[in-house]
Symmetry: C2
Subunit: 355 residues, 2 copies
Amino acid sequence: MRDNKRATISDVATQAGVSRAAVSKVMRSAYGTSDDMRKRVEGAMAALNYRPQFAARALRGRTYTLGVLLPDIRNPFFPDILDGITQALADTQYQPLLGVRPSVEVTERGLIETMLDRKLDGLILVAPVLGHDYLMQLSAMTPTVLIGRHDQNGGFDTVNNDDRLGAKLAIDHLVAQGHSHIAYLDLEPLKDAPFNPARFRRQGYQSAMRAHGLGENELITVIGPDSGSERGRAAARQLLTSKRRPTAVFGWTDESALTVMSAAHELGLRIPEDLALAGYDNSRLCALAQISLTSIDQDAQLLGRASARMLIERIEGRREDVHFVTAPQIVVRGSSGGARANGGTVTTERRPRSA
Amino acid sequence: MRDNKRATISDVATQAGVSRAAVSKVMRSAYGTSDDMRKRVEGAMAALNYRPQFAARALRGRTYTLGVLLPDIRNPFFPDILDGITQALADTQYQPLLGVRPSVEVTERGLIETMLDRKLDGLILVAPVLGHDYLMQLSAMTPTVLIGRHDQNGGFDTVNNDDRLGAKLAIDHLVAQGHSHIAYLDLEPLKDAPFNPARFRRQGYQSAMRAHGLGENELITVIGPDSGSERGRAAARQLLTSKRRPTAVFGWTDESALTVMSAAHELGLRIPEDLALAGYDNSRLCALAQISLTSIDQDAQLLGRASARMLIERIEGRREDVHFVTAPQIVVRGSSGGARANGGTVTTERRPRSA
DNA sequence: GTGAAAGCGCTAACAA
DNA sequence: TTGTTAGCGCTTTCAC
């Protein structure tokens, strides 16, 4: 009984007394269908419990499937993006197909090839490390939207938060708390992808420090890409045991800030008294009472929703590049001394969300 | 230039001077191909940069795509399973296609239908809450493997750790630390899915407590399914402020234990002095110095690898049900007082992994 | 061992 | 507005 009585378009056509083409038209709500016919066809589809097969559609037309490439399913920031994408797609015919880069070694290209083999209608690439040229080629073949890349003029859309502003918010806050020695935890520079968020956050950090007259105190430590690794932890320990130990640290992601928090804990440093901390992404962990990490919220769900909508626009014909940017907000918690250290109280609540 | 020069099987056949059928055979390494021919075909495929289209294959034969249904991408336990699946699939022709249940309200059935529409060759369902009958129907149509369900005789395979044993390990440890009032954080009973892990862990808790002569001290608090929600947090606070406050708590997942840890923190309780904690899954968070949560490791990667291999066996023809069970291990950390509270030292290291 | 031919379920010209 | 017809790229008998 393996799937052998699944209804096809011909069954529906027979049942409704129309041609297969008519059924196809009704499905795609294409031009040239009378109300009568639509009703009969819809009745037949329901009666036969008909569902179109994607493989057959794909061979001729669209797959109604969008590829979503995530670099890392573990960073809690990315599932929020996925939620946003799912929300935006809920009212449409489109479905997301997920690809997750299993490790840093595996190239993203392989995954993209796979999605191309499956004839997906479009691609959402989250924080890809692919070079600009490759992305241009790719987007010439398939509608593409990037999240977390500031590249321009590539034939693809981008969706970002204002990374420079986010960094400024963090530094302004730490300075307001009385800090002048503030370090920045940076991602290792990506040769292929210079327009990555870490770079813009670093620029925001630098210009904010200078604006406060603290340019001489700038201290940048590379801790990524995998700050949870032994290498990342070693970098954190080194930062905290150096002569020039900062009194505050701003991490390019929450993960990087947490690595430093963990190291501080092991070294017996009190937070925020001995060391203030702020991260980026406002991922769920930040709110845990034991963590209580001040962080920059870039509204991942909104990024996801926007990317899905923009991709569909592209699929339906838009040609000009669109670059969508959201405004980050700071969420102050105990780690920066902005709220009582034990309470984990959020003094700056997440803003109400627009569309 | 939208994808219009992609080589097809005909192009390869022409280039190699053979028939299309011959090319197809080489691809599937089917019977009846001479070495000569294979060489020429492979040369032509390489020269033309040929890649078969999945949609076209799907219409006639296999899709070489396996559906993986995850209930929750945020729980760090699940990405580990996914890693295992990816590893096992790396050497095969098969690719995973991910479906993630976007919210508790969305039924898993919708996602499964979608995968069926795409003619996937088989399904790995992680911790589904679907009824036994539905799963039987499903597995009659499509090869299916379940992770995190102890159902038997359903026409599908299952992959689990020994949940009863895992719970026993946790209770034995807490008792050895001198505790006699140990509470269990439970998942709300699932009517449709009685054979879920939480139930087996509860049974393990109960029988271990009785074995230690502590049957009268049993205390079960429902905190799931979403222990991070306000309801879950309220349950945690209630547990910790009640007259019969336990001195130790064993959570059915790490997430549930963390919710209690967070509540304890807010109430000013010291860990492990005032309250000892143990969780289940040994997810990455447990190792963070500020968290340092004792937990039961069920080797998610192994579960993932096993499920992928078993599914492929089924696809290639196995008919009998197989039920794979792994042995859990306890990883002792500061939260249970088994290691120095501040150090987060792991006294029981993760075991070396076998295939 | 190899190739010709039919057809998977659907879409998109075009004709009616 | 509707139906007819020809494929999309691949797999699969079944002759040769």
